[in-house]
């Protein structure tokens, strides 16, 4: 495969372009997509760039089809991905479920927009519940919530590897602001950073002749006749997901050692939280910063430890949604006696002053 980046360099881009370039350097073979704002430029740039690097694209008839064509392509051993948002994310829950059920290394980039329903085309953090636990299953998904263009780049590369190594569907959760924002990042070839891309392999269309009895046919299955058969599958997946969770979990923690209040946020809001915590510290207010990077699996052990070591009396969950990160966090740290305060701003941006004011109001 032709190298996309021959030498590491800084570039000034939007998040959506970053995503397209990251998929290219990750060695993605094919994208299937359907237009929806605010992820469109991922497709625009992929379609412009793909032919130069012998990759392909198909614009499908809807998001359902985009998700299922990805399922088919990864089954045949190719690195495939899609990108969507909002109502498209809702429609894709069906193929995402197939990927969970059949353990397919599907990669999806989600640029959250406002909801419910068509909501806005602009921004929100309201697709947390949907992306982590959507579908008629147990949420066997790996979800990275990015906050900068550099992270979009880094975690898409990592996401493809996670998907192909563990074979759980993997999501890069961004939002409309990250999609459209412009900022510099460093573009690099993964090999240059010592990142080895995990080899892909087919689940069907394997080498070796069935007719000549060199191998058995593959009969992949996602529906079971008996309750017990499904039970065994689900229990096995659960055990595997739980076993790999500790090595998957990623988080960022700052100034928590002596914090009386810990601000918990994710994605683009954590940029405001970071600024707010710095400003409050400068004013002598003991506040800490905790950010889950993986929303699924959630860094619950690390958050519990941060609460324990600081002796914090309060958490402040700040999000551009009405309680999706809050509910996730609460269930993950069940049993902790710390009070949880909230700053819910569904569908609108949160800036440092919003958090600073809120923290001061709950001191």
């Amino acid at each position: 495969m032709q190298k996309v980046i021959t030498e590491t360099k800084k570039a000034f881009m939007t998040g959506n372009e970053t995503a397209a370039w990251a998929a290219l350097v990750s060695g993605a073979d094919v994208m299937f997509g359907y237009p929806i704002t605010p992820q469109n430029e991922i497709m625009h740039y992929w379609t412009r760039l793909a032919p130069q690097y012998d990759r392909s694209f198909l614009q499908t008839e809807d998001e359902i089809s985009a998700g299922f064509t990805v399922c088919g392509a990864v089954q045949s051993g190719k690195k495939a991905f899609t990108a969507t948002a909002g109502p498209g994310n809702v429609l894709m829950q069906e193929p995402f479920g197939m990927a969970e059920g059949m353990r397919l290394p599907l990669v999806a980039i989600i640029q959250q927009r406002g909801g419910p329903s068509s909501g806005t085309v602009v921004y929100s953090q309201q697709e947390v519940t949907l992306t982590t636990f959507g579908g008629n299953g147990e949420g066997y998904r790996i979800v990275y919530s990015t906050s900068t263009h550099q992270e979009i780049y880094d975690y898409i590369i990592k996401g493809f590897n996670t998907a192909w190594k563990y074979r759980f569907p993997t999501f890069i959760l961004g939002d409309g602001y990250q999609a459209k924002m412009r900022e510099p990042l460093e573009m690099y070839d993964p090999a240059e950073r010592g990142i080895k891309m995990v080899d892909t392999y087919p689940l069907i269309g394997l080498e070796g002749s069935i007719a000549a009895s060199q191998r058995d046919p593959q009969h992949l299955c996602n529906i079971y006749s008996l309750e017990e058969e499904l039970y065994e599958v689900v229990m096995k997946y659960s055990a595997e997901f739980e076993a790999i969770s500790p090595e998957l979990v990623e988080y960022e923690e700052k100034s928590c050692d002596d914090a009386e209040i810990i601000v918990v946020s994710h994605g683009v809001v954590s940029r405001a939280a970071d600024d707010a915590v710095k400003a409050l510290r400068a004013q002598g207010i003991k506040v800490g910063y905790f950010r889950p990077i993986t929303l699924r699996p959630y860094p619950q052990k690390q958050l519990r430890e941060a609460i324990a070591k600081s002796g914090a009396k309060k958490l402040l969950v700040a999000e551009s949604a009405y309680g999706q990160l809050y509910r996730l966090t609460r269930q993950e740290i069940y049993g902790e006696t710390v009070n949880i305060e909230t700053l819910f701003m569904p569908g609108v941006g949160i800036v440092d002053y919003d958090i600073i004011n809120k923290v001061k109001s709950i001191l």
Partner: protein, 227 residues
């Protein structure tokens, strides 16, 4: 050969084209405000048809308060428009019929300067100049070959503005290197470079003498929108 005329013609009509996030909106705004400060009547036209919701809208009101006429949907009356690919404000179609200077901010997209076909009289206008904005740190225009290819796709280009920067990580070296490459390509294509745009925060670091084209210090308005 890099003509830059300080004399301003009776009527300025400029269309800024270029890559997604190349700085078209920023330079259009700066240009429009420059003209305004000189006491001229200026209309700024938002012609981004691909992703209209994300363009000038969030700062439309502020620009109007500074005395510009802005043609484009404001946030309040932009209901649902982000979903539809091509939304053209009817006023934009007739923008060239207006008195005074007209600055057109053309959105990105595969059609490049062809978007001007949507504006009545653009192709016949004697005053119109199509100005390509090039930022060398953008991956689609990060080598002489790519810039050449990119400009050739744009269609009509009358001038170039060199706008190499890396946001808040811009250094003088990045500007120098980018500008050199852009100038070299412009020379080859025989397209004049109007000026080099530099963030006003770098005023102390940039010497006009180091560049063969005028340096224009610009103020950044766009970051006031959250994206």
């Amino acid at each position: 050969m890099f003509a830059f005329s300080p004399e301003i013609p009776a009527k300025v009509v400029e269309a800024y084209v270029g890559e997604y996030a190349s700085g078209k909106s920023e330079l259009s705004i700066n240009r429009a405000l420059d003209l305004k400060i000189q006491g001229r009547v200026v209309t700024l036209v938002d012609l981004d048809t691909v992703e209209p919701f994300y363009t000038l809208r969030p700062i439309k009101k502020m620009l109007e308060e500074k005395g510009l006429t802005v043609i484009g949907y404001s946030r309040e009356n932009s209901f649902g428009l982000g979903e539809t690919g091509a939304m053209l404000n009817p006023a934009a179609r007739w923008a060239l019929w207006r008195e005074g200077d007209i600055i057109l901010d053309i959105g990105y997209g595969v059609f490049g300067a062809q978007t001007l076909n949507l504006v009545e009289g653009a192709n016949e206008s004697a005053e119109l100049r199509v100005i390509a904005v090039i930022n060398y740190t953008r991956p689609m225009t990060d080598s002489p070959e790519r810039i050449t290819e990119y400009i050739s796709q744009l269609g009509r280009v009358d001038a170039i503005v060199a706008n190499t920067h890396l946001g808040n990580q811009t250094t003088t070296d990045i500007i120098k290197k980018g500008t050199q490459e852009i100038l070299a390509v412009a020379r080859k294509l025989n397209i004049p470079v109007d000026y080099l745009a530099v963030d006003e925060n770098m005023r102390d670091l940039i010497e006009q003498e180091e560049f063969e084209v005028p340096v224009k210090f610009i103020h950044r308005y766009m970051p006031q929108a959250l994206w």
